[in-house]
């Protein structure tokens, strides 16, 4: 490429940047961090000589933030209220409302509590009869934490160091223990080791349990050193009085004698692949050692670990990467929880910068959410065009965030959206609703037969999911035309059938129907012998089954 052309392209792209800065958000209302995100991402576009997709309109953007922040689509009222709002800062104000208004607190906490329950104990964690984990206890802890916007570092510290009972309602209840309740008992706390380092520090050590891993910097020694922090901890079964029935579990710390039965020198043994045995003591990933004593009065190993983790820059990077991936569809690394020199990030400086900013702002996740949702990449449409064709991570490219990456809603988002779409809202007490959702989720979760409780969800766009949306109870409820149902109520609003049809499209896919869609509706109307409610029902069914509905876009 000639120099002249290069300069021309540079000039063009800086115009684009200017355009964007004048977009929906008045510059003075935007937190400084947003500008820094924009700078870093836009620099990437210039480097690759690509032009970003256009910004989405308000309706699509509204759907997007409701799904990402609250875990469901907006209701018709919420959508219309937003579209009727005037003013340059309307997007910023909506984010603020969703994050800080009391009426959304419960939903916000519920959504993030669910996300974190799945991260910490998996979708099937605590559902097995033999499990010591209380799923309710885990969720309660997380819900409460998100409801009060507990600083993230504090939450991590609590999860890693917690002691107490798993089950809500027991005298010593501490829901945070459920993260480790099953993981410490199993086979030398191997799972506690790998989960803690992967989830909170983005360091994948599970392969190094048995051998030095060729692809990352972790060595087998490090695995067992990290593992040593968990060896004072056990889950104890507590029985129903006078019976052998397990009531709940209690996570306790106790003196650790070490594998050589010397609490003053509490070592663990591990075996090299060549059969030689080595010893390990608690040493943090950055090389910091703590005492070798296994007596709690000398050192509480998990508390020490918690403090060391609080100092680690990986704590910051991991949560930023996770949150970025939640909102933008992809993280700076793939997979998101594997950070390290062997797996370079797409925007390493931005990842580090946001990590430091979050630390400076006391790990306030709502601030991080604000920065990300108001940033330029989050405003972009999901359209792939010739100007950014190379930004296609499904082709193995590093993401450049020059468009919004399409992704399917999570099973939980879809469930909650369908519940929203019934208009009736959820039925029953909180616990009953949880139970209903859990039953529904079961059909998509399959466990692998390992002690680590690995699992996968088959909620991935495949046939069982399509069957559920075609014929399932949720769809039946959502498309009901009984008195009081969403469609029944909708049919009594608006000025005309056309108006009501528009509302239907707004709720489902955040846009107006196209001309051919209106045509089809007209035909359906006559096929249903001019019964408008039945026509709306057919269209609603088609919309709920469409990719446009089940995708975040």
């Amino acid at each position: 490429m000639s120099l002249a052309l290069r300069i021309y392209l540079l000039v063009c792209s800086s115009f684009i940047v200017l355009e964007g800065a004048q977009g929906v958000l008045a510059v003075d209302a935007v937190p400084e961090q947003v500008a820094r995100i924009n700078d870093a991402i836009e620099q990437g576009w210039r480097d690759y000589e690509i032009r970003p997709a256009a910004e989405v309109d308000d309706a699509l953007w509204c759907r997007r933030v409701y799904l990402d922040i609250l875990g469901r689509i907006p209701t018709l009222d919420e959508m219309e209220a937003f579209l009727d709002t005037r003013g340059a800062q309307k997007r910023g104000k909506l984010v603020e409302r969703l994050l800080y208004e009391d009426r959304y607190t419960e939903e916000y906490a519920g959504h993030w509590g669910t996300i974190w329950t799945n991260i910490l104990i998996g979708r099937s964690g605590g559902t097995d009869r033999r499990s010591l984990t209380s799923r309710d206890g885990m969720q309660k802890y997380l819900r409460d934490s998100f409801a009060i916007n507990k600083p993230y570092n504090q939450m991590v510290f609590e999860l890693v160091t917690a002691e107490g009972a798993t089950e809500p309602g027991t005298s010593n209840f501490n829901g945070a223990v459920n993260f480790l309740a099953d993981k410490v008992n199993d086979e030398k706390a191997v799972l506690a080791t790998s989960s803690t380092s992967r989830i909170f520090l983005g360091q994948q050590v599970q392969c190094t349990q048995c051998h030095n891993h060729p692809f990352n910097q972790w060595k087998q020694q490090k695995f067992w050193e990290f593992n040593s922090f968990f060896r004072q901890t056990r889950s104890l079964r507590r029985f129903v009085d006078g019976t052998r029935d397990i009531d709940h579990a209690e996570l306790v710390n106790e003196d650790f004698a070490g594998e050589a039965d010397d609490p003053a020198d509490a070592l663990v043994f591990y075996e090299l692949r060549n059969g030689l045995t080595r010893v390990a003591y608690p040493v943090f990933t950055d090389g910091t050692e703590i005492g070798k004593s296994g007596y709690l009065s000398d050192s509480n190993r998990r508390t020490e670990l918690g403090h060391l983790m609080m100092q680690s820059e990986f704590l910051d990077k991991m949560i930023v990467n996770r949150m970025w991936a939640h909102f933008l569809g992809l993280g700076f690394t793939k997979p998101i929880d594997d950070l390290g020199p062997h797996n370079p990030a797409s925007h390493p400086d931005l990842l580090e910068d946001l990590g430091l900013e979050l630390r400076k702002h006391s790990y306030d996740l709502k601030q991080l959410i604000t920065w990300i949702t108001l940033s330029r990449p989050y405003q972009l449409s999901a359209v792939l065009s010739e100007a950014n064709e190379i930004d296609d991570p499904s082709m193995g490219e590093m993401p450049k965030f020059s468009r919004f990456y399409l992704r399917q809603m999570s099973a939980e988002q879809l469930y909650q959206s369908l519940v929203t779409a019934t208009g009736a809202g959820a039925v029953g007490s909180y616990e009953e609703q949880q139970q209903q959702r859990r039953e529904w989720m079961k059909q998509f979760v399959v466990a692998f037969g390992t002690d680590e409780g690995d699992e996968a969800t088959t909620f991935n766009g495949s046939i069982p999911q399509a069957l559920m949306l075609f014929n399932g109870d949720l769809t039946n409820n959502a498309t009901s035309i009984k008195t009081g149902s969403f469609l029944d109520r909708l049919s009594k609003t608006g000025r005309s059938p056309r108006d009501r049809l528009t509302s239907l499209f707004r709720v489902a896919v955040a846009r107006r129907p196209t001309r051919s869609e209106v045509n089809v509706a007209t035909k359906l109307y006559s096929a249903r012998s001019n019964n408008e409610k039945e026509m709306l029902q057919d269209i609603w069914w088609a919309l709920l089954n469409s990719n446009e509905f089940i995708m975040q876009h």
């Binding site: 392969c207 035909k523 089954n545």
Partner: protein
């Protein structure tokens, strides 16, 4: 376009489908099934190839099953018994011993992935995990290659029973495993809508889909349309009765074992009979870090022995084994060394897989491990090699190449080498 808004009376659902197919190009491909195809069905049936994978989640101790080390300190308590093949296996697999003339044991598997997730991926795909690309699994690859042999198939070509399998990778959602429980019951299969109205709804849906796909230009949207089509087919197909494993006589169910794995194997046989090219049946619980031998003797081995032997026997008696490859494996083996909890830990360096059927020779033990089972002493075989051998055994060209999404050509089964003792 207008004509399918009216509902012709007295037509079967299948007819409606072809009716719709005439009106909507997107549905035409799957729905226009000419009668000439049925005429050739018998002929096609003759070369119907299938594969069944028995997946042992958790990593089975193959040293206690297929490659015993009696007398060695690592040998454990189990004794070898003779089989109808040229090898000995564990005394707690007496029914399988009767079937080993059909199956061969590859005793010189040597791999490098001893983590469950990585091992599962590697053994299912023939590729080590790579964050930039998702490789297709056995089920996706084989059903992709064999489905053209049976245009009459209306049910999913890749069925995963009682487990999760591994996804279709870059081949796309149309080749995803269709996961069912071992009782073959499928949720939400029943339509609660009359035919004509469903068709009208489908047309509206189709229109919305096409609009979205053309606006975003993204691949997943187009994939979704294929899945919808398949779902639609399946709801209306008579072939779905293959899933009704409950209809089998009680004595047959007993012979396979009435637990999930037994019924899953029985269901697998029914699906092969119905022409499904790939079925995976899951038996988890092999991650035996503690108390391994009691678990194997009292629980895992009896379940495996009954179900796997009944499956092979039935396939053989029905003349299906000559066209069906059966593969038995997990993500890795377990250490020869018995640990302090009387268990065995993860071990990928020297272990066994079992394979037979179609063009793969049975009755052989291929490769050898050292006296204590800690190392392979003959030519080592990898996941790629095993998969390539299975591909060859099914009559699929081992030169087949796929193109990944990023345009990279990918040799089928990672370009492994054929285990010559087993095929050709």
């Amino acid at each position: 376009m207008n004509r399918f808004w009216q509902t012709p009376s007295g037509m079967t659902r299948r007819h409606f489908m072809s009716h719709l197919a005439g009106s909507s190009a997107a549905y035409a491909a799957s729905l226009s099934m000419g009668s000439s195809i049925y005429a050739h069905a018998e002929e096609l049936k003759k070369k119907r190839r299938s594969a069944i994978m028995l997946w042992m989640g958790g990593g089975p101790a193959t040293i206690d099953l297929w490659d015993l080390k009696p007398g060695a300190p690592t040998g454990g308590p189990f004794q070898p018994i003779s089989t109808t093949g040229g090898m000995q296996i564990c005394e707690h697999l007496p029914l399988m011993a009767q079937q080993m003339k059909h199956m061969s044991v590859v005793r010189s598997m040597s791999t490098r992935e001893a983590d469950h997730n990585r091992g599962r991926y590697y053994m299912h795909t023939g590729f080590v995990p790579n964050p930039n690309i998702e490789h297709p699994s056995y089920g996706a690859v084989i059903s992709h290659e064999l489905t053209s042999q049976r245009p009459e198939l209306q049910i999913p070509p890749f069925v995963s029973i009682g487990g999760a399998s591994t996804g279709p990778g870059f081949l796309g959602m149309a080749w995803a495993p269709f996961s069912v429980t071992s009782n073959g019951r499928i949720r939400n299969l029943e339509m609660n809508l009359d035919d004509s109205r469903l068709l009208q709804r489908m047309a509206a849906l189709n229109l919305i889909e096409q609009g979205f796909t053309s606006r975003t230009r993204d691949l997943p949207a187009a994939e979704h349309a294929k899945v919808l089509r398949k779902t639609f087919d399946l709801m209306t197909s008579d072939q779905m009765k293959a899933f009704k494993v409950d209809e089998e006589p009680d004595e047959v169910k007993e012979r396979y074992g009435t637990g999930g794995f037994g019924q899953g194997c029985l269901l697998a046989r029914r699906l092969v009979e119905a022409g499904v090219p790939f079925i995976e049946v899951d038996l988890g619980g092999w991650d035996n870090h503690a108390g391994i031998h009691a678990t194997l003797r009292d629980n895992k081995l009896p379940i495996l022995d009954k179900a796997m032997s009944a499956l092979i026997e039935d396939l053989d008696q029905r003349g299906l084994l000559q066209d069906t490859v059966v593969i038995w494996m997990g993500e890795f083996g377990r250490t020869p060394n018995i640990n302090a909890q009387a268990g065995r830990d993860h071990f990928a360096r020297a272990w066994s897989c079992v394979v037979g059927g179609a063009d793969i020779k049975g009755g052989l033990a291929v490769g050898e491990t050292s006296r204590d089972g800690s190392a392979v002493e003959t030519e080592p075989f990898s996941s790629e090699d095993l998969m390539t051998t299975v591909i060859k055994g099914l009559g699929i060209s081992t030169e087949t190449t796929f193109t990944s999404k990023n345009g990279r050509p990918m040799k089928i089964a990672g370009g492994g080498k054929i285990i010559r003792e087993l095929v050709g």
